[in-house]
């Protein structure tokens, strides 16, 4: 009888050990994933970003008393770095790599009668939040192509309204978003499959968690369209892909 217990204890100990090993090898795999990093630049004179007349809503005017609002279609920073460019893997991802949906929820905020961020990238089926920090009513009105799988909707968000939590069903680069009450408010949702990144105000980006392999990386900018590049990622090593868009 005692021997039986011993055997059972041994087996469970072995099983635990095996399970632990399995887990550790898996984490080794994760650490072996590479990244794609780089810089996106604008070549030429950046177009003038017009100021925005918000006089129809005194609240909005007040928020910009000290920092005049301007359009955000082309955001050029230091050294010609281009902001708000979305980089994603358009070819080469395995089914598993493409179907992992991140659990973290990106936020699209309506702040000072502008969209923050102006461009929000996310995964297919990834939950995201639309929030409002403003003390004026907005309506949030995304306009995807209804025939491609994502359906347009239009919801009001008065001051203090709870966040709207939702997701998109299919890839779409890109879904325009507007507020009909404040016609200058214009932004984009970029819905892609798999790892992606958005450039910061200096034009830099890093796509994390890219498994080793050969890929096509696409860079999307709302005014200049898309560019692609072939990139090979070795396990645990960062690959580089720089892009340059030409000013119109």
């Amino acid at each position: 009888m005692k021997a039986h217990y011993k055997a059972a204890a041994m087996t469970s100990a072995l099983l635990l050990l095996a399970f632990g090993l399995l887990c550790s090898t898996r984490s080794v795999n994760a650490a072996g994933e590479g990244k794609i990093a780089g810089k996106v630049k604008l070549d030429g004179t950046p177009p003038h970003m017009k100021g925005i007349d918000m006089s129809k809503d005194p609240y909005c005017v007040k928020q910009h008393e000290n920092s005049p609002a301007h359009l955000e279609n082309v955001m050029v920073g230091q050294g010609g770095g281009l902001g708000n460019v979305v980089l994603y893997i358009s070819e080469g991802l395995s089914g598993a790599g493409a179907s992992q949906v991140p659990s973290q929820e990106p936020v699209f905020d309506q702040k000072n009668c502008m969209y923050t961020p102006h461009v929000l990238a996310m995964d297919v089926n990834q939950k995201f939040k639309v929030t409002t920090s403003d003390q004026t009513t907005h309506n949030i009105h995304p306009l995807p192509n209804a025939l491609a799988g994502n359906i347009p909707w239009n919801k009001s968000q008065p001051p203090g309204a709870p966040p709207i939590e939702t997701s998109w069903k299919t890839e779409e680069v890109a879904i325009p978003v507007k507020c009909n009450i404040h016609p200058w408010m214009h932004g984009y949702f970029v819905v892609v499959k798999g790892p992606h990144a958005t450039t910061d105000d200096k034009g830099s980006y890093t796509i994390e968690n890219v498994p080793a392999g050969s890929y096509t990386v696409t860079a999307w900018q709302e005014e200049y369209g898309t560019q692609t590049q072939k990139v090979t990622v070795a396990a645990g090593k960062p690959a580089t892909a720089d892009f340059t868009f030409k000013a119109k």
Binding site: K56, D57, P58, Y59, K62, Q63, D134, Q135, T136, T137, N139, I140, H141, L143, A146, L147, I151, P152, W153, N154, K155, S156, Q157, P158, P159, A161, P162, I164, N180, I181, H182, P183
Partner: protein, 291 residues
Amino acid sequence: MHTNIREWSLLASAVVLLASPCVCRAQITEYQQHQWLGMESHIGNLTGHARAAEMDYRRYCVGCHGELGDGNGENAPWVDPKPRDFELAIFKCRSTPTGTLPTDEDLFNTLARGLDRSNMPQWSTFTKQMRADLVAWVKHFSPRWQTEKPGTPIQIPPEPEVTADRVKAGQAVFQKVECWKCHGVTGKADGPSAATLTDDQNRPLSAYNFTEGARPKCGDTDQDLYRIFMTGMDGTPMPSFADNIQPDEAWDLVFYLRTLEPQKNKEKEIAKQLGLKPVAPSAAPAPAPQQ
């Protein structure tokens, strides 16, 4: 004999030539149409069949809505607001939440009601069966009906009694969710955002003017009014307020909206007795909390 053959061949080639552009234009849709011609609609005990509506559509609807149901009929350039694009299946008058397909009954009702201040007439002279068949025909144009189900209709609780408190509370809702930004403080469609409103295709559009006595597009019962701000009018700037107006408040708002109409009604009497003044837009936005 020879001339006869030549004439016939000329005629035949002319027919082929004339027909070919139609074939090219409708290639994909025609193929899909064949797949979807079995579309049905269900309104109560009625079952509509798309196939049965083909002749009626050609006779009554094609002029504006077009052969392909895309809203590009030959009259479309002179029509404003533009005819719906049935391929997109985005409709203003629904009982279902924003971003969802309408129910068959919604489309059935729209056909009979027509859309005021547009070129869409009331087709109330049609038999119910004709309308049910046309609903199925309208649905057969869009792939969305193959993959999506209509949304769950929003619940409308029983209408409470109109009271002075409710009319006043309704005005507070009108102020809080800022209906006046488009519809104006007196309902004249002259709010600060009214002039720049556009539909989903960026075509100019005006907000509903409550003071003209015109029938609202999606019906003029109290229930219709309640429904319209809870579902929104998809394809237009009118959003859904379902997340921000509680059912009780929604009835209050319906009562307040009635006070803006030119017709005599109970709510207007109450507003008069209360000495209700239009909302003051400047008072509406509270100062922003500093962070």
